[in-house]
């Protein structure tokens, strides 16, 4: 199930590829992530942040996004985990919400339904663009393909109740 959730064409192919390429890829992915980290540190975008997880593995990151104003998520902060494949950026990272979130396109275990994290991923995306896309997804859910049907319904019909549910569900989690 988890594989289906965030699989992209690239990741399937990567598994088939030989070992030589994998080693080179790992290095390239690390290099690319380093430049991204540098970029995020030197010119941070407002409302988002990301950093490699403490164990020094560049392929696992923690990120936060702030809920955009004028949305039910205003004032809330959400933690996410990024896991990069060794052939990143040719395959998308696996992104999960660590903070429980009530959203039409996020299920209860934090998995996200977003096209650019699946078949619409291209190598030109990066952590920052993914985070910005997720931020805008908070304000503009795609109710046509919901992971959380109830949330999709309430978003249309009862914004007040939706907001209450969002606040109920939101609670800070400690880093694991």
């Amino acid at each position: 199930m988890e594989d289906d959730q965030n699989s992209a064409p690239g990741s399937v192919q990567a598994n088939k590829l030989g070992g030589a390429r994998k080693g080179a890829d790992g290095q390239n992915a690390a290099k690319r992530l380093q430049t991204e980290l540098m970029h995020l540190m030197t010119s941070p975008a407002p409302g988002i942040s990301a950093f490699p997880s403490a164990d020094g593995n560049l392929l696992k990151w923690r990120a936060t996004i702030e809920g955009p104003d004028d949305t039910p998520y205003a004032g809330l902060t959400f933690k996410l985990s990024f896991e990069f494949p060794s052939n990143y950026p040719y395959a998308p990272p696996t992104v999960l919400f660590l903070t429980p979130i009530y959203h039409p396109n996020v299920d209860f275990s934090g998995r996200i339904c977003l096209d650019i994290l699946k078949d619409k991923w291209t190598a030109a995306y990066n952590i920052q663009t993914v985070l910005l896309s997720l931020q805008s997804l908070l304000g503009e859910p795609n109710n046509a393909s919901p992971l959380n049907g109830e949330a999709a319904e309430l978003w249309e019909k009862d914004p007040t109740l939706f907001k209450t549910k969002v606040l109920e569900r939101h609670k800070d989690v400690d880093e694991d």
Partner: protein, 503 residues
């Protein structure tokens, strides 16, 4: 659909041990030939081993070189790992617009899409197109064989940027264009094959001397006894050697054994050392801090040391000057000898018209002199004198040439002036003559006119030649004769302007 590039096509990191031969697919696409990688492009020539094992089948040219010594480079082979452009360190930060959106490093062999005009490193885009044949930025369909072209302007611009050599320990900074050849051919830190043909490992080029043999053999560490590769000894001493530290016998500091000598010479605080002016007579011998203090306060022998150095310098200079003086003396002596000998008077003193021919006799006389003249101590001396003489002669000739040039110029100028005067005179005469000719011609015409008129009127004596106009009455023969002396043009025009009535 099979991917256009095989997995082996990927970027090989610097540390990879083997190179695979390039597939031609890549260069066929957008004519990015890997010329820059220099000799590493062609697969290395195999070396025949005493007992050659069966060669790998030709149907799998892409197979990596086996680790056993079936195919390997000669010790001179320069085949080395490919330069990794993504890890290059640029001297100045590169504009983000010149960085590939995929690898986020400055473009390497950039290609641009025809459909949407986005630019990427060719390798990055290749990888991306393997998974999806669309532009990574706007998802427009891209056909790798048709829709891409080289972005030459961009690559030219980037090749000019200064980069540091990617090898650790190398300080070389050059343009990106040149760093490839530096890395491939010149850098001492590039990993090349071990000079031992049976060793498959790599070693920095500086250490890969055939004389030093294979440095990948293990040797027992002199401190801890562990088996260590010779090439790794340095780092072994620094880090992993269990017995690598020792107590300094003088200062009780813990020192890496390998650096003990350096420690004793430069750092140890307990060992007694001499003042640096010992050779000039300073007797101070004490522990480092005291000696340093002594030196700092000013050792008296320092001044003496300076004097000694100065004196040595002076002496060297004096010797040099003496040597020169000797040569000069010898030369002067020789010159004297030459000037007293009767055959040598080539100087330009004579004021004859062609003095340059005089020294010919001297040249002819030259070869005779060494035999008879005791002043020539050696053939070199003789040649030297001859040479000097010839030089003087050339100088004389040069002066003469200049003189001649001057004379010639003056003469030419005079001639030209004279000729100009003559031309002037002649032209004046011509003008005068032409005036005369014209007046004569006019007169002749007038006369013939008058005669004609007289002949046709029939009464030439009375009614003809009313040329004078109203004021001239009854012209006579005298009149006709008189206008010889009158200015012809006026008369003529008067006559024509007022023609008398014929009746």
């Amino acid at each position: 659909m099979p991917p256009p590039n095989t997995p082996e096509e990927g970027v090989l990191p610097v540390t990879m041990s083997y190179r695979r031969p390039r597939e031609p697919v890549y260069s066929r696409r957008y004519s990015y030939r890997r010329t820059s990688t220099g000799p590493s492009v062609s697969p290395p020539p195999p070396v025949r081993l005493p007992t050659p094992p069966p060669a790998p089948s030709p149907s799998v040219p892409d197979a990596p070189r086996p680790s056993s010594a079936t195919r390997r480079c000669s010790s001179k082979c320069q085949c080395i790992p490919k330069l990794d452009y993504q890890s290059l360190d640029y001297e100045v930060p590169v504009d983000p617009a010149l960085q590939c959106p995929i690898c986020h490093t400055p473009f390497h062999q950039p290609v641009t899409t025809r459909t949407c005009g986005h630019t990427f490193c060719s390798e990055c885009l290749d990888r991306s197109l393997e998974t999806q044949p669309v532009c990574p930025i706007d998802r427009q369909p891209v056909n790798p064989s048709r829709d891409l072209f080289r972005a030459r302007v961009i690559s030219d611009q980037l090749e000019r940027l200064k980069v540091k050599c990617p090898n650790k320990g190398c300080d070389e900074v050059c343009t990106r264009e040149l760093v490839v050849s530096h890395f491939d051919l010149h850098c001492d830190h590039t990993l090349v094959h071990c000079p031992d043909p049976f060793c498959n490992l790599r070693i920095p080029r500086a250490d890969a001397q055939p004389s030093s043999g294979c440095l990948h053999k293990n040797t027992p560490c002199q401190y801890c006894g562990a088996d260590v590769m010779i090439a790794d000894l340095e780092s072994h001493y620094d880090d992993s050697c269990s017995g690598h530290t020792a107590k300094c016998s003088h200062c009780n500091a813990i020192v890496v054994r390998h650096h003990m000598e350096k420690h004793l010479a430069k750092e140890c605080l307990g060992r007694e050392i001499h003042c640096k002016n010992m050779e000039y007579g300073c007797q101070v011998l004490d522990r480092r801090p005291i000696v340093e203090e002594h030196e700092r306060l000013g050792c008296v022998f320092e001044a003496i040391g300076k004097l000694v150095l100065q004196r040595m310098e002076d002496r060297a200079r004096i010797e040099d000057l003496e040597g020169r003086l000797r040569t000069m003396d010898a030369r002067a002596q020789r010159a004297e000898n030459t000037s007293t000998s009767p055959s040598s008077r080539p100087r330009m003193g004579s004021n004859s018209f062609m003095p340059g021919f005089a020294p010919d006799a001297n040249i002819d006389a030259g070869p005779r002199t060494p035999a008879g003249n005791p002043a020539w101590r050696s053939p070199e001396d003789y040649m030297l004198v001859q040479f000097e003489r010839l030089e003087a002669k050339i100088e004389d000739l040069q002066k003469m040439t200049w003189e001649f040039d001057g004379q010639q110029a003056v003469r030419q100028l005079n001639d030209a002036l004279r000729m100009q005067e003559q031309i002037h005179e002649l032209s004046n005469r011509v003008t005068a003559l032409s005036l005369q000719v014209r007046s004569l011609a006019v007169n002749a015409q007038q006369q013939s006119n008058a005669q004609q008129r007289n002949g046709s009127s029939g009464s030439p004596s009375t009614s003809s030649s009313g040329t004078g106009g109203p004021g001239t009455r009854a012209p006579s023969h005298e009149d006709g004769r008189r206008y010889h002396s009158n200015p012809p043009p006026r008369r003529n025009s008067d006559g024509r302007g007022q023609h008398p009535p014929r009746l």
